[in-house]
């Protein structure tokens, strides 16, 4: 091998550097044009009003944002989304954590089978499972049939057309679909914890509760933080379930923000400016909540 001169070495270094940029350019450009550019456009759009080609800047410029505060359906969708967030995310994460700690027990048998079964709902598409739940909870669906036959109900209860039951069914459906998903994160996190720590804790006479709060929870903190951020992000963007399970009903009582934004943009006369303003609010909420969660996550150290 000939010894490269210093000058040639530099150029090789530079060529590698350039190669790196070429390799990452397609992906980086796609993210620029498919995420950041549309995001900026959405911000500009959120200050505009009108339809189609006749969009113009609103007067006053924040008109769309003011309109949001007076839009009862929007406020309802905001409340619903937060209701789902506040009830469903904590319940789901706690359930997933409990299931994962049980499945991590060495003495447990049929571990693989249990894990597969609980993880199975993740194999279904969102539209598919929403349709299954809609059918199960229909007036003439299986749940009503069972409840009436058991004598718990006198007559079928209209789960999907009563305000609170419709909301609760969305929460139940979400729990069903996503608990196993989060459990898998915790399982993989638990596998990184040395099992001998648990054995040592046992010898020292730690109760299962102590073991959980003193060992498992602190060591899993990064994973818990990640799943919390992901679930929050996902719940704020909830769409498929609201459309296919309850159709936002009854009378928008269970509609989510994304569903309402979709309706505003593509279902009725398109109001792109107003819809963009609402979507920008979701973006800000996602950013704020992620920031808060990361701060809270840091503090416990």
């Amino acid at each position: 091998m000939s010894k490269p001169s210093k000058k040639k070495f530099m150029s090789l270094e530079r060529r590698h550097n350039l190669t790196g940029w070429v390799f990452l350019a397609p992906a980086a450009l796609l993210i620029l044009f498919m995420s950041f550019v549309p995001m900026v456009k959405a911000l500009l759009l959120s200050f505009q009003t009108g339809t189609g080609a006749a969009m113009k800047y609103a007067d006053p410029i924040w008109m769309n944002y003011v309109q949001m505060t007076k839009d009862t359906v929007f406020i309802q969708s905001l409340k619903n989304t937060f209701l789902y967030l506040i009830i469903q995310v904590p319940v789901m994460l706690v359930l997933a954590l409990i299931l994962a700690s049980i499945l991590n027990n060495r003495q447990l048998r049929f571990k693989g089978l249990f894990r597969t079964m609980i993880f199975l709902p993740c194999a279904t598409s969102l539209v598919a499972y929403a349709t299954v739940f809609r059918t199960l909870f229909a007036n003439n669906g299986l749940i009503n049939l069972v409840l009436v036959n058991l004598g718990i109900l006198d007559q079928p209860y209209s789960f999907l057309t009563n305000v609170w039951s419709a909301r609760i069914i969305i929460v139940i459906a979400l729990l069903w679909r996503w608990t196993g998903y989060n459990m898998v994160f915790y399982l993989s996190g638990l596998q990184n914890i040395e099992y001998s720590i648990y054995e040592a804790a046992k010898i020292d006479g730690a109760s299962p509760m102590q073991t959980f709060f003193k060992i498992t929870a602190p060591l899993l903190k990064p994973t818990i933080l990640l799943t919390a951020i992901m679930s929050t992000n996902g719940t704020l963007q909830l769409f498929d379930e609201s459309v296919n399970l309850t159709d936002g009903g009854p009378a928008n009582a269970s509609i989510t923000m994304s569903h309402y934004i979709y309706n505003m943009s593509f279902k009725y006369v398109p109001k792109f400016g107003y819809a963009a303003a609402m979507s920008f609010l979701i973006l800000i909420l996602v950013a704020i909540l992620a920031f808060v969660q990361m701060k809270v996550g840091d503090k416990r150290d």
Binding site: M1, F36, P38, K41, L108, S125, V127
Partner: protein
């Protein structure tokens, strides 16, 4: 473990498993039953599958929707694998301060909710004539921060010695990537492809926005159309749901380990 604790643990797991599996079992069994039997509470499989299938075909163009879904999901998966792994490899192997900065900007894109970009994307794509097209379906989700991060993580474990040796042997940088990195990282690709395919297949909002033509709709859209049309034929409806679920269920069963690695992959 004490006996009581054992019963509690198994009891909890059995209930959780039952709740997880029953709706899926019911979906399969309802797909083989007459609507009237489904309504009367029959939960064991029946012999009405073929009849339901005929009704479904008469009602919706299932084969075309399946074809579309497969086409969009497979093309997206292949393109996405190449673009994202190339980027992850580029970020890690040739990393310097500037590239690390670009990476952290890309990670910020994870926080951008899809609804916030959906309307401008729709406007851009309709101007470009990409509605009802494969390119329209795949373009927004080819490059994702998650996959780039996953491949960057796997490139970290790729031995530098191999790269040096290949360079001495006179392999070009791109050849090293395709002939050394790609075959070595087969399991990362399997995990990434599984997660990408499932996400693409299940995507509902974006195709609902851009597939304005009945010719271009996807399988989840067919299922949604069936429920919106006041269909009360539950056997037929559940068959459509089953058909929509089968491809992802098969991928799930064959590649369960990859899928689990895929969703947790970028975090390690």
């Amino acid at each position: 473990m004490t006996k009581g604790k054992k019963i509690l643990m198994y009891g909890f797991l059995i209930i959780a498993s039952f709740i997880s599996v029953f709706p899926l079992y019911w979906m399969v069994s309802a797909a083989t039953n007459k609507s009237a039997d489904v309504l009367s509470g029959r939960i064991i499989p029946g012999g009405y599958l073929v009849e339901n299938f005929k009704n479904l075909l008469a009602n919706q163009d299932v084969f075309r929707a399946l074809g579309n879904s497969f086409k969009y999901a497979i093309i997206l998966t292949v393109v996405s694998m190449v673009i994202c792994s190339l980027a992850g490899y580029g970020f890690e192997i040739y990393h310097d301060k500037a590239k690390d900065l670009v990476m952290s900007v890309i990670l910020l894109a994870m926080m951008v909710p899809f609804v916030a970009t959906m309307i401008p994307l729709f406007q851009m794509f309709s101007k470009a004539g990409w509605l009802n097209s494969t390119i329209g379906f795949i373009l927004p989700t080819i490059s994702t921060p998650f996959l780039i991060m996953m491949f960057r993580q796997s490139a970290r474990s790729f031995p530098h010695d191999i790269i040096e040796a290949a360079r001495i042997d006179g392999l070009s940088e791109i050849a090293i990537f395709f002939r050394m990195f790609m075959p070595t990282m087969r399991s990362t690709y399997a995990a990434a492809a599984t997660i990408t395919f499932m996400n693409a297949w299940n995507n509902y909002l974006w195709p609902k926005v851009i597939m304005t033509d009945a010719e271009s709709i996807t399988m989840p859209m067919v299922v949604a159309n069936l429920t919106q049309g006041y269909v009360t034929d539950y056997g037929m409806l559940m068959l459509a749901v089953l058909i929509c679920t089968l491809p992802t269920a098969i991928v799930f069963f064959c590649l369960q380990k990859s899928f689990a690695e895929g969703i947790t992959g970028a975090v390690k």
